[in-house]
Structure formats: C-alpha cells, structure tokens
C-alpha cells in the first residue's frame, strides 16, 4: 500500500515537473530509466540465450536547496521491476549526501556517494549519460571479466569529501578527494554494512583531478587506497572474526576525453594491485578506448575496445571485448541503443574460462 502511495506521489510530482520544470525553486526533480533487451548469440556464453526484456531501472534524482550554500542530493533507484512483496528486483539509494558550498573552490560533502574515479563510475547507473549499452567492464566492473572480489575501487562509499572547480591558467580544473569506510574485504557478502559501520580502523582515501588542457580535451588522474581486514574462509565462513592480517588495495587511473566537432574519443587506463598479507601481490590493469561520430545531431555509431589483465603474473588470463553499436537520439533525452558485443578470453580467466562469446544488446533510455 505504501509503495503504491509512493508511486502515485512520484507520478504526480513528475507530472507537475512537466509543467513547472522545477517542483519548487528550491527542489529539482530529474531522473532516468532504461529498458533493455539482451541476447546471447554464441553457444558458449553465459549470457541470456532466451533473449529477455529487462525493466533495468528507474532512478529518481532529487536536488534540494534548503538554504543558500547547502544542497542535498539524492538518487533512489528501482531496479528490475521492483516488487518487494514477491522479493523481486531491488530498491537502492545510489547516493544521498549533503553538500556545503564554501565557495566554488571548496565544497564539503557528507553521506553516501559514488566513488569518483575515472570516467564512468559516477554515471554507471545513468545510461542516458553515455553512449554505450553498459559501462566498460575492463576499467569499472572487473568482477565480470575475472577481476575477482576486489574491484579497482568500491562503486559507492560513505564518508566525507571535498570538491571544487575553478580555472587554472584559463582552463577548467576540478578535483574531488574522498575519505570513507571503503571496502569491507568481502564484496557482496559483507558482515558489516559499509554504509553504516567500518570493520577496521583504516579509512579508504581516493580522489580525482581533471583538467581541460584544451577546450575539447579533458585529462584526468584518479587514485584509491584502502587496507581491508582478512578472514579465514575455511575456519570462519561467516567472517565473524578477522585474522588480524590485512590486504592492501591500491588503484590508479588515467583518463582522456576528447570531443571535437562531431567526433568523440575516450581513453581510460586503470591499474593497481591487491596485496594480501601472505602470498604475492596481484597486479592488474584494464584499458578502454572508445571512438564515436555523431551525424545529424542524432545518430552516433561507436566502437569500443576493452582489454583486461586480471593478474600480470599469470600469462593466460586476459580478456578482450570489442563493441560496435549505434546510439540514436530519437527525441531529446530519449535514446535507443543497439550494439554487438564480442568477448574473447583465455583459459586462465577465472570468470570467463576461455569462452569467446557474442551478445546482442539493445535498450531504450530516457532522461528527464
């Protein structure tokens, strides 16, 4: 009943926003949604061989300005046709943070935030903000290409951040530094809710600096560091008693975004290591390269190449992905995406196990 009431209220607000643009001078409502179709063409792949429709997500984004200098930003996500009665889909708070603006150079944030690392993480849920069907796996969602439990960085963090943007030598510059609880050492199965409490005294520290070296060329550097607890999976499967040993995680990245006339290029390199207390350090890296050309302000064919090496000491575990697609802006803020995704992997890749797969993906994407 409460869910129905909430939906009616949201629909009412959305209807209002069509006429008034803003709910109130101090409250802005935006959002995005994607409806997807995925089909695994190849026999070997683990993708969807039935070819399924997916009510992927609808996100409501609120920006509230209660007083001058203060902003409260919230993104609430309803994924996969959320129906809590049937235990289907899920509701998530992607972020909810307060931001105090001292001036443009210095803003202080507190709450749950995206990790601001590289090009994609902070927009990975908002498919309306980028050309392709999904964000790159090789630099963002590496668990899908054999990257193991530790991503290069957690996708969300709870903590404090300082951020700002200003001109440096007449070119745009922005930065963000984040201090958070970080990873809890067991992605997806945490005994501790990382958005509520930390399971160790070490705090994660990360950040990103971006500079428009030319008007159309933006370069960026990102980093993330954390020290996480270790557990003995055999003696303590529920991870109730940390061993007292620690694993160090460090990642760094370089990014370049170039847009000139109708051409778009993106390059991203992310590397780093996971260094457990025993055994050798795992050095890994991923690369993404995207090229696109927009014509008639509507049609944007694109290609993207991804390469990921989960462990540089292992010679046969790499994965390569080649994507070729078309993004059509049917209406403003309404896009259709169609793409073919070819993945090659080597036998030693723990996720893909040497399978070469081909997928057809398509989506309708709306922003408002």
């Amino acid at each position: 009943m409460n869910v129905k009431f909430l939906l009616i209220a949201i629909l009412f607000m959305m209807q209002c926003s069509l006429f008034s643009k803003d709910l109130h001078p101090h409250v802005k409502l935006n959002g995005y949604s994607s409806f997807e179709f995925e089909y695994e063409i190849s026999d070997k792949g683990d993708g969807d061989k039935n070819g399924s429709f997916d009510a992927d997500s609808i996100d409501l984004v609120f920006n509230i300005y209660p007083v001058n200098r203060l902003r409260f930003a919230i993104d609430i996500s309803y994924e996969h046709g959320t129906a809590t009665e049937d235990n289907r889909g899920n509701v998530a708070m992607e972020y909810a943070f307060g931001e105090y603006t001292y001036n443009e150079y210095l803003k202080i944030r507190f709450g749950k935030m995206f990790s601001h690392f590289g090009i994609y993480n902070e927009i990975h849920t908002a498919k309306t903000s980028f050309l392709t069907f999904k964000e790159p796996k090789s630099t963002n969602k590496i668990s899908k290409v054999g990257g193991g439990d530790f991503l290069f960085y957690p996708r969300w963090q709870v903590g404090l951040a300082v951020t700002g943007e200003f001109d440096l030598a007449d070119k745009e510059f922005d930065y963000i530094l984040q201090l958070s609880n970080g990873d809890q050492g067991d992605e997806g199965g945490q005994d501790t809710n990382p958005f509520e409490s930390d399971n160790n005294t070490q705090k994660a520290f990360g950040g990103r600096f971006r500079y428009n070296i030319l008007e159309d060329l933006r370069l960026g550097l990102s980093f993330y560091h954390d020290i996480v607890e270790e557990y003995d999976d055999d003696l303590d499967p529920k991870h109730e008693n940390p061993t007292g040993q620690h694993t160090s995680v460090f990642s760094y990245g370089f990014q370049a975004e170039y847009q000139i006339r109708n051409l778009t290029f993106e390059f991203e390199y992310t590397g780093g290591f996971v260094d457990p207390s025993s055994g050798s350090s795992i050095d890994r890296y991923g690369v993404t390269l995207l090229g696109a050309y927009t014509f008639k302000d509507k049609y944007t064919p694109y290609v993207r190449l991804e390469y990921f090496d989960p462990n540089q000491d292992v010679s046969n575990d790499e994965a390569t992905i080649f994507i070729c697609g078309l993004n059509i802006e049917v209406l403003r803020w309404f896009n259709v995406k169609v793409e073919i995704n070819r993945t090659w992997s080597e036998d030693g890749n723990l996720e893909l196990n040497g399978k070469n797969t081909t997928q057809f993906n398509s989506s309708f994407v709306i922003g408002f």
Binding site: Y65, F97, A126, Q259, Y293, T294, F295, L305, G367
Partner: protein
C-alpha cells in the same frame, strides 16, 4: 584457440580508427553552426542582485554550473529560453556552444551528482516572469521584450 594480447589490442585500435576515418570521409563533417536569425539578446537579473554588468565568461560559468553563488552568497537561479527557438539558438550562440554539446555536458554533470542545470522556459516572457518572481535569478531574453520588464532589471554585457 585465439589468444588476444597486445598485438590484437593494436589491431582493433587500428580498426577503430579506420572505421572512424572512413565514416568521417564518407559522411563529411557536420557543421555545428547554429542556423538562427541574428537577434539581439539582453541579460536580466532579479532586483535583489547587485551587479550592473556581466562578461560572457562569467555568464558561461553560471550556465555551466561552475559559478553557483553571487558575491553575497545567495544561490544563483539561471533561466533561458529553450533551444529550437530563435531566442534559444541565439542564446547558445552567445555562449559559444551548441545545444547538443550543452545537453551532453549537463547529462553527465547532473547525473554524476555534481549539480543541476539551469531551467529553460518556452519563451522570453516566461523568463521575465520567473526572474521577476524569484530572488537571485538571472535570465537571457530577446531585446525586443525590453518594454515588458517591470520587476527585474537589465544588466550590461561587458
């Protein structure tokens, strides 16, 4: 079995560039010039805003969300006439950006939680109305509506 390493990476990089250059040469570069009638625009601010003039660089910062506070720390609310209209297209020409580029910029900025875009209105009179009604606001309208301004004020473009 096909093992793809760095040489394959380079191979596909080459394919990517060939694809793009081929497409570029066949399709030709689309002109990004905005085709709109030349109309004169004026900048208006609400009566509480204590500035008399503004330069294009500052205007650009306001509409790109890089300047969000006036000197007295009040939050800036910015309005413009939507694109696709003569006034809207002239506004984007004034900023030196196409609407599609402006839209792409804000789609990323808005949904990466970095701020909210300025609000568009369907015509110049609506911009006058909203700027007159809301404190700390700024808007861009056609000069032909100069006589309709009552509760807000015009500022010079430097």
């Amino acid at each position: 079995m096909m093992i793809l390493k760095l040489n394959s990476f380079l191979k596909y990089t080459c394919i990517l560039f060939v694809f793009l250059f081929g497409f570029f040469s066949i399709g030709g570069a689309e002109s990004e010039e905005i085709k709109s009638e030349e109309i004169k625009l004026i900048i208006i601010v609400s009566s509480d805003v204590k500035i008399k003039e503004i330069d294009i660089a500052t205007l650009n910062k306001i509409y790109r969300g890089r300047k969000t506070l006036w000197k007295n720390s009040n939050k800036i609310s910015a309005y413009y006439v939507k694109s696709g209209t003569v006034t809207g297209d002239a506004f984007f020409k004034l900023l030196g950006v196409t609407y599609s580029k402006f839209n792409r910029y804000w789609r990323k900025k808005l949904f990466s939680s970095a701020g909210t875009p300025p609000s568009s209105r369907s015509n110049g009179q609506s911009v006058i109305d909203v700027v007159s009604k809301n404190e700390s606001s700024i808007g861009v309208i056609p000069a032909s509506l100069k006589d309709k301004i009552k509760s807000c004020k015009i500022i010079k473009i430097k």
